[in-house]
Amino acid sequence: MSQEEFYIGWQDEMPLSNKQFIKRILIGIFILIPLFLMYVVLFQKPFNHHHFEFGTLTELTGIYHGDPYPILEVSDEDSTEFILLVGFGKFGAEEIIYDIQNEHGALLGEEVTFRGTLIYGDGVTLLELTDQEESFVSSKDKEVEPFEGLDNSESVSLTGEILDPKCYFGVMKPGEGKIHKSCAIRCISGGIPPVMRVLQDDGESYEYYLLKGKEEENINKEVLPYVAETISVSGISFYQNGWKVLKLDLESIERNK
């Protein structure tokens, strides 16, 4: 390099040879980067088609059930949906329902209208009580047949992942696995019902179990160390208010490494 070609940053112009060289490097970078990014995106795991109707509030009217978690049974002429209620942010609905009941009286078995944000995917629907206690619109008496008990129960051993249904069914993509683990832990710790996702024999579809303890107590804190990992568990499963429920034997949990 001759003296004339020596590069000095504070000079107005850089030497021509530097200029041409840097130009070639930049052109190379501007060609390679899109190719690199395209490969990264192409080989990315696909996202599910779950939805969170962020910014849209919907009013739903149905029969309120308190077990296994707050659920609204919404029926029309063709079908009945059992909609799991969750709170705003990373919280469950139980405390909100408690506050609403303190102000408006017991909701159990009544026809209740809630306003909130719909979350849905894979045949499951949740309603976020976005405005917390203000999400309660109205209620009126309705005669509802009581839950018949555990006559559909069976002992099962399952392998799957514990996740928080709020994120998984629409709020976050992805709402599962290692990168979502901390968020799922926060959500379940905040009272959102833990759900166990179990892959079926077809290798594509899933079954979802709301988790409870042996005595049907909440076990949110107890399952936190196992969230977002593949685990094997045993317990008793049964149907309740449209959901499969697993009365989980906490001592049976095994991490699959």
Binding site: M1, Q3, F6, Y7, I8, G9, W10, Q11, D12, E13, M14, S17, N18, K19, F21, I22, I25, L26, I29, F30, I33, P34, F36, L37, M38, Y39, V40, V41, L42, F43, Q44, K45, P46, F47, N48, H49, F52, F88, G89, K90, F91, M172, K173, P174, G177, K178, I179, H180, K181, S182, C183, I185, R186, C187, S189, G190, G191, P225, E229, K257
Partner: protein
């Protein structure tokens, strides 16, 4: 060259550098977001922001780490080095968006403080595959903040180049933390082979560049150790080995020395620039001054002083010429000490 504090000493090349830098950043973000909408239209806005800023910042870090060794291996890369600090600060801001969004998305609106949640939600610190990778990113961001906050020459002058340089070598700690952050985080979910190839490929490329540069430098030092010594002077090279207006560098008795040939004379100064410890010996004599290849800081060869009004000073060394060979005494003179240049006509 800094004299008084000013926010940024803009010049034409810095402005051009920043324009291309931000054009490049915008290009990366647009490409990534475009490909996401094309191939994964179901993606949410939050996930796009988190992923686009993550990959852009990580790519920029690879470029930042490559520039140093590339400029040592080929001086044509020097224009990329000149304003590298703006590249680093830009990278920090993009990483900051990633960090803040991730903390809000995954940890806020919960039953404990969001920052506490980063460290306590996942407590499998003893396991590699389940390790809470967010903590690694958090510490990397903290170091990047310290580096970005002290990037201005104001801090360089106040902390001293040595401390400043040590602090800014933290970029290698950041890189290590981020490689682990990606490997133990995103790649535990996105486990396609291509992702591992990219991550390890980038790591190997950075490592190789530094190794090659280090080996080249080490070879030069090895050779210099076998020199003849007489009366405190070492025989360095033939006069003709030093190109006009350039230098021969040598490492003797712990002293890093650059011997410059210019206008029929020879002078020796310390090889380390007072600004950012750049290799002066890879610079040139321009307008009668030694000019650093990194940022153009200048020193007079005969006394190692920056021309007024600047105040930086270098150590100087005694030289002599015998039978066409250059000899240097590595015992340094005080910074700024005038040493009569060796006139080659007399020699």
């Amino acid at each position: 060259m800094s004299l008084n504090y000013t926010s940024v000493q803009w010049n034409k090349q810095k402005k051009g550098y920043d324009k291309i830098l931000w054009l490049g950043i915008a290009f990366m973000l647009i490409c990534f977001i475009g490909f996401q909408f094309l191939f994964h239209p179901e993606i949410t806005a939050e996930t796009i922001i988190i992923r686009a800023t993550a990959i852009t910042a990580f790519l920029l870090l690879h470029i930042i780490l490559s520039i140093g060794p590339l400029a040592r291996l080929n001086t044509k890369f020097l224009p990329l080095l000149y304003n590298r600090r703006h590249l680093g600060v830009s990278m920090f801001f993009i990483a900051l968006i990633h960090g803040v969004f991730s903390i809000i998305q995954f940890h806020a609106l919960g039953d404990i403080n969001a920052v506490v949640s980063v460290f306590t939600s996942n407590q499998h610190y003893q396991e590699i595959s389940e390790f809470p990778f967010q903590t690694l990113g958090f510490f990397a961001l903290l170091i990047l903040f310290l580096m970005a906050a002290t990037s201005h020459d104001f801090w360089l002058n106040n902390l001293s180049p040595k401390i400043w340089k040590t602090l800014h070598m933290g970029v290698y700690v950041v890189y290590g933390l981020l490689v682990l952050h990606v490997a133990l985080g995103a790649l535990q979910y996105e486990d396609h082979l291509v992702d591992w190839v990219f991550l390890l490929g980038g790591f190997i490329a950075i490592l190789s560049l530094h190794l090659v540069t280090g080996i080249k430098e080490n070879r030069r030092l090895q050779k210099d150790r076998d020199l003849l010594k007489k009366d405190g002077f070492y025989e360095v090279c033939l006069i003709s080995d030093i190109p006009e207006s350039c230098a021969k560098t040598i490492f003797l008795e712990g002293e890093n020395i650059a011997i410059f040939k210019y206008d029929g004379r020879l002078s020796a100064v310390n090889n380390v620039c007072k600004h950012q410890m750049g290799p002066l010996g890879e610079g040139r004599i321009v307008d009668g001054c030694i000019t650093c290849p990194w940022h153009g800081y200048q020193y007079k060869p005969e006394d190692g002083k920056a021309p007024p009004p600047f105040t930086e000073k270098l150590k100087t060394y005694q030289l002599k010429v015998l039978d066409g060979k250059v000899w240097v005494n590595p015992d340094p003179n005080e910074e700024g000490t005038y040493i009569e240049p060796v006139k080659l006509e007399d020699a």
